[in-house]
Amino acid sequence: MNAELFENLRLELRRGCLILAVLAELRTERYGYVLRKGLADRGMAIDENTLYPLLRRLETQGLLVSEWREEEKRNKRFYRLSPEGEVILSQLLEEWTGINSSLNRILEGESLPQSSHAGTGEKS
C-alpha cells in the first residue's frame, strides 16, 4: 500500500518536471530516441509511450518544431524548441526556481520574506 502510494505521488511530482526537462533538453535539436536516452542518462527516465504523445502535444501547442530528416540512412524526426517555446521555457524556469527556493525555505523552517515570489504558490 505504502509503495503504491509513494509511486503515485512520485509520478504526480515528476509529471510537471518532465515537461520542463523535455523543453530544456530540446534547446538542442534531437530526435526521439536520443532525447529519451539523454533524459535517462541525466536521471529523468521517461518511457516512449509518454514521451512521443508529449512531444506531439507540445508541437501542437507551438512550443516545439519538428522535421523528418535522414540520418545514418534512416528517416528520423528531429525536434527543437520554437521561439515561443524558448519564451515559455524561460518563464517556466523562473517559476521552477521560485518554487524550488520556496520549498527549500519551507523544509529548512525559515520564514517567507515579504513580497518575495508572490505568485509562486497561487496555482501549484
Binding site: Y31, N49, Y52
Partner: protein, 438 residues
C-alpha cells in the same frame, strides 16, 4: 488497405500479430477460413429457407428447435475449423525479428484513429529500430526473435500504445466528476424508489380491478421475485447509462464550467448531526407500546375483530405463532424505551437493541408474507351470497400487497436508520459541525 473492424478481421489480425500462422501461409489460411464460414452461412440460410415449407404443419416449437440446432452445429464446425487451422499453421514456421516488428507496428496502427497522421507509426518504428541497433551494438550480433519480442513487449500492448495518442484519455474529467458522482447517486436512489413504488402499486391496482370482474389470484413465486430484481437491475443500469452519457456529452462542450455557477447564499445549510429522541418521546413510546401489548395479550382475535369486517373474519392457522412473535417484539420495544429512559448513557446497548429490533421486525414481516394465505379465514356463512366469491380474493390481495409494501418500507427504514450507526464517526455533517465549532 484500411483495416476493417469486423469480428473476423480482428481475429485474423490477432492471429497474424501473434505469428500463429507463417506469413507465406497466411493468405491461404485467411481465404480458407472465409470460404468455410461463408459456406456454413449459406448452408444454414438454405436450410432455414427450406425449413418453412417442409415444416409446414409442424408445431412452431419444433421449427425453432431445428433452427437452433442448425445454428449450434454451424458454430461448432466454424470454431473447430478455426482451432484446427490455427494449430496446424502455428507449427508451420517460426517468426523472424523483422516480421515481429512489422506485426507489432501493424497492430498499433489498427488501433490508431483513422485521421491520425502516418508519422506516428514511422516515429515509433524509428524508435524501436534505434533501440534494436543499440542492443545489437552492445551484444555484437544480430538480435534473435526472442530478444526483439522482449523489446516490443517492453513498449507495451499495441492498444495501450495507440491509446496514448487519442485526443481523449477520459470519459468524464476531474472538473465535472464530483457533479457527475452526486447526480448519479441521487438519480439511482430516486429511480430505485420510483421503481419499487410502481412495481408494487401497479399490480395491486390491476389485481383489484381484475377481481371486480374475474378471479385473478395473486402470484407468490420465485420467478416473480427474480423478474422484479432483473427488471430493477435493468432500470438502474439504464439510469446509470443515461447519466453517464449526459455527462460525457457535457465533457465535450468547450468552455462549460459547472463549478463557476454557484453562490454561497444558495448553498444548503450544514445539517445538524443526528440526535436521539427526547425523553418525552421515549415515555410516550413506552406507554403506547404497553397499551398495545395489553390489547394484544387480552384479545386473541385482535385486530381481526375490529371494525365492520370483524363479523366476517376469524384468525387463521398461522395466527398463534404470529401472536407470540409480535408479543415478544412489543416487549423488546418496551425494553428499548425503558433502557433509554433509565440508562441513556448505554449507547452501545441501545444501538444493539435497536438494530436487533429492526431485524426482528423484518423477519416477522417476512413470516407474515410467507404465511399470508393462512393469516385470516373468511366466515363465508355470514357473507352475503353476492360477495362470497369476491371477498376472500380482495382480502388475500390486500394482505399480500399490504405486507409487501410494509416489508419494503420497513427494509428501507431499517437501512436508513442503521447506516448512520455504522458510519457515524465519519459522517460529513459531524465533521462540518466540528469545523464550525472550531
Amino acid at each position: 488497405m484500411k483495416p476493417t473492424n469486423s469480428l473476423l478481421a480482428r481475429y485474423l489480425r490477432f492471429v497474424e500479430s501473434r505469428n500463429w500462422v507463417a506469413a507465406e501461409a497466411f493468405p491461404v489460411f485467411s481465404r480458407s477460413l472465409r470460404a468455410v464460414l461463408w459456406t456454413l452461412l449459406a448452408v444454414f440460410a438454405i436450410t432455414y429457407t427450406l425449413a418453412g415449407p417442409i415444416a409446414r404443419g409442424q408445431a412452431l416449437g419444433a421449427i425453432l428447435l431445428g433452427t437452433l440446432w442448425w445454428t449450434f452445429w454451424c458454430c461448432v464446425w466454424a470454431v473447430g475449423f478455426v482451432a484446427l487451422c490455427t494449430l496446424i499453421f502455428r507449427l508451420a514456421r517460426p517468426a523472424t525479428p523483422g516480421k515481429l516488428t512489422g506485426k507489432y507496428l501493424g497492430a498499433v496502427g489498427s488501433y490508431l484513429p483513422p485521421d491520425q497522421p502516418e508519422d506516428i507509426l514511422a516515429e515509433l518504428a524509428a524508435d524501436i529500430r534505434s533501440e534494436m541497433e543499440d542492443r545489437e551494438a552492445e551484444l555484437g550480433r544480430p538480435l534473435t526473435a526472442e530478444e526483439v519480442e522482449t523489446i516490443l513487449k517492453r513498449h507495451g500492448h499495441p492498444m495501450l500504445v495507440a491509446g496514448r495518442y487519442l485526443p481523449r484519455q477520459h470519459l468524464i474529467g476531474p472538473a465535472i466528476f464530483p457533479f457527475y458522482w452526486f447526480t448519479l447517486k441521487t438519480a439511482l436512489w430516486i429511480a430505485a424508489l420510483v421503481y419499487v413504488v410502481i412495481a408494487v402499486s401497479v399490480p395491486f391496482i390491476v389485481s383489484l380491478v381484475q377481481i371486480a370482474g374475474q378471479a385473478a389470484p395473486h402470484d407468490v413465486s420465485v420467478a416473480g421475485a427474480w423478474s422484479f430484481l432483473l427488471i430493477g437491475a435493468v432500470v438502474l443500469l439504464a439510469v446509470f447509462g443515461a447519466v453517464t452519457a449526459v455527462f460525457a456529452v457535457l465533457e465535450l462542450v468547450p468552455g462549460l464550467s459547472l463549478a463557476s455557477r454557484w453562490s454561497v447564499e444558495n448553498l444548503s445549510a450544514v445539517p445538524r448531526p443526528p440526535r436521539g429522541k427526547p425523553r418525552w418521546e421515549w415515555t410516550v413510546s413506552l406507554i403506547a407500546t404497553g397499551l398495545f401489548a395489553a390489547c394484544w395479550l387480552v384479545m386473541p382475535d385482535f385486530p381481526w375483530n375490529l371494525g365492520p369486517a370483524g363479523r366476517y373474519l376469524t384468525p387463521g392457522a398461522a395466527w398463534p405463532t404470529v401472536r407470540i412473535a409480535m408479543l415478544l417484539l412489543l416487549l423488546a420495544t418496551m425494553l428499548e424505551a425503558a433502557i433509554h429512559l433509565a440508562r441513556p448513557r448505554w449507547t452501545r446497548a441501545c444501538t444493539a437493541i435497536h438494530v436487533a429490533l429492526r431485524v426482528a421486525g423484518l423477519a416477522l414481516l417476512g413470516f407474515l408474507f410467507h404465511a399470508s394465505d393462512s393469516l385470516v379465514v373468511v366466515n363465508l356463512a355470514r357473507v352475503p351470497a353476492s360477495e362470497a366469491h369476491r371477498l376472500p380474493q380482495i382480502i388475500g390481495q390486500c394482505t399480500y400487497y399490504g405486507l409487501l409494501m410494509a416489508m419494503l418500507i420497513a427494509g428501507m427504514t431499517a437501512l436508513v436508520e442503521c447506516l448512520p450507526y455504522l458510519r457515524r464517526r465519519l459522517s460529513p455533517p459531524r465533521v462540518a459541525a466540528r469545523l464550525i465549532a472550531l
